[in-house]
Each structure stands twice: as C-alpha cells, then as structure tokens.
C-alpha cells in the first residue's frame, strides 16, 4: 500500500510495481490527465491544492475500505499538486487482484471515493477566466 501527495511528476510504473506480487494476476490502473478543455472552454493549465496532512490519511482510509471489500486487493494512490500542464498526470489509482473483475471494480471504487473525499482542489485556468472547481460547479476566483 502506498499513498502519495506530491508536487513531483507521478511515476505510474512505480505505483504499479508497488501493488504487483506473485499472486496478482490482474492490475487495473486509472490515470487522470489534465485535459485541454472543460465546460466548453479551452484550458491552459491547472493548479491543485491539497490539505496534505488530511489527504494522505483519507487515501489510506480508502485503501482500507477497498481491502474490506476485496481482501486480496493491493492498492497504491498518488495525487499531484501545484502547477500542471495539459497532458500531465494529476492522479493515479493502481489496484492488483488475483483476477480481473475485482481489479476493475476496486480501482473504480477507489478513484470515485478519492474524488469525493480526499481534500484536494483544482483551480482551472481557462480562456474565460480562472475558476475553483467544486464538484459540478466552477466558481470564479475571488467570488
């Protein structure tokens, strides 16, 4: 199990290596990438801000929840913070399991939980301004 919040580029292979073991037949890896558009607008870059002292324990909690549901799963998660350019990896969840159905399910469950409960925020710099992204809402900076 490995949980990182880091300003350095995420090494996806390293996270996968952290979950692989001789009994694991399946690895499912989700990577979130900075897209060049959002809300129909061109995006130039992002800034991510984290409450790191809480984010890492929240990730660990999600990892434990995954193990409660899929006891054979091994989990690694990382979220990047700071300035990110288009095409850079912002978040990774890697899960290994003996078989593939549970690897997919556990990985998807992990990223969904991470997105709703890990205190990390996205500031989007787009053609129409700069916004804090709060769930479904984009709130202009300063208001």
């Amino acid at each position: 199990m490995r949980y990182d919040v880091t300003t350095a580029p995420i090494d996806v292979r390293e996270l996968e290596a952290a979950v692989v073991h001789p009994g694991a037949g399946a690895v499912c890896t989700f990577s979130g990438i900075v897209r060049d558009n959002s809300r129909g607008q061109t995006v130039t870059h992002l800034d991510y801000e984290a409450y790191a002292e809480m984010a890492v324990p929240q990730m660990r909690k999600i990892g434990q929840e995954i193990r409660d549901r899929w006891p054979e799963a091994r989990v690694a998660m990382a979220h990047r913070t700071g300035h990110l350019e288009i095409g850079e990896v912002s978040v990774v969840v890697a899960v290994s399991c003996p078989h593939r159905a549970e690897a997919f399910e556990a990985c998807r469950w992990g990223i969904d939980r991470l997105k709703e409960s890990v205190p990390i925020w996205k500031k989007e710099h787009a053609a129409d301004g700069t916004f804090w992204i709060e769930g479904e809402d984009a709130k202009p900076v300063g208001r």
């Binding site: 991510y48 801000e49 809480m54 997105k115 890990v118 709060e134 769930g135 300063g142």
Partner: protein, 86 residues
C-alpha cells in the same frame, strides 16, 4: 474553568482566498461546536460563505457541524473537493 480555548484554523482553496488567510488562531468559549467556530470566523471574515457547501474537519477528519471542539484542535474549513465528472 477556562473562559476561552484556543484552536488552530486552516482554510483551503476558495475559502482560503475568500478569508484572505491560510491559518489563524481562534479563541472561543469552551464547549463550542464546529458551527460556533465557523460563525465566529465569518463574523471576522465577512466574505466567507454560509455553512452549506462548506465541510468542516477536526484534527484531519471530516466532522459534523455539531462536533465539540477542544483546546489545541486543528479545525479546517474546506469547499467541496474537485470531484470532477465521472
């Protein structure tokens, strides 16, 4: 009994920008709730939004608004996380 306890407050993301501070110390009556603490902070920083849409955390764990705060606690007030479309 103490007339006030001191808690450490942290703001994040949009709330940090609206409050204009990242961390501060708040003196508050013993036995106050997280809601009481937020209301006291709103009196000080008028641009902070109403409680709905804000979540509170005590000592790095999400907490309900009625949770009591204690001397030395770290309170955090945080907007919805980035979530993003599934």
């Amino acid at each position: 009994m103490a007339v006030a306890i001191a808690v450490r407050v942290r703001f994040f993301a949009r709330l940090r920008e609206l409050a204009g501070v990242e961390t501060e110390t708040l003196q508050i009556a013993p036995n106050s709730s997280l809601a009481d603490a937020y209301d006291a902070l709103r009196a000080r920083h008028s641009s902070l939004p109403a409680r709905d849409g804000v979540r509170g955390a005590v000592n790095q764990e999400f907490a309900g608004w009625s949770e009591r705060v204690s001397e030395g606690d770290e309170l955090a007030f945080i907007p919805p996380v980035s979530g993003g479309r599934r």
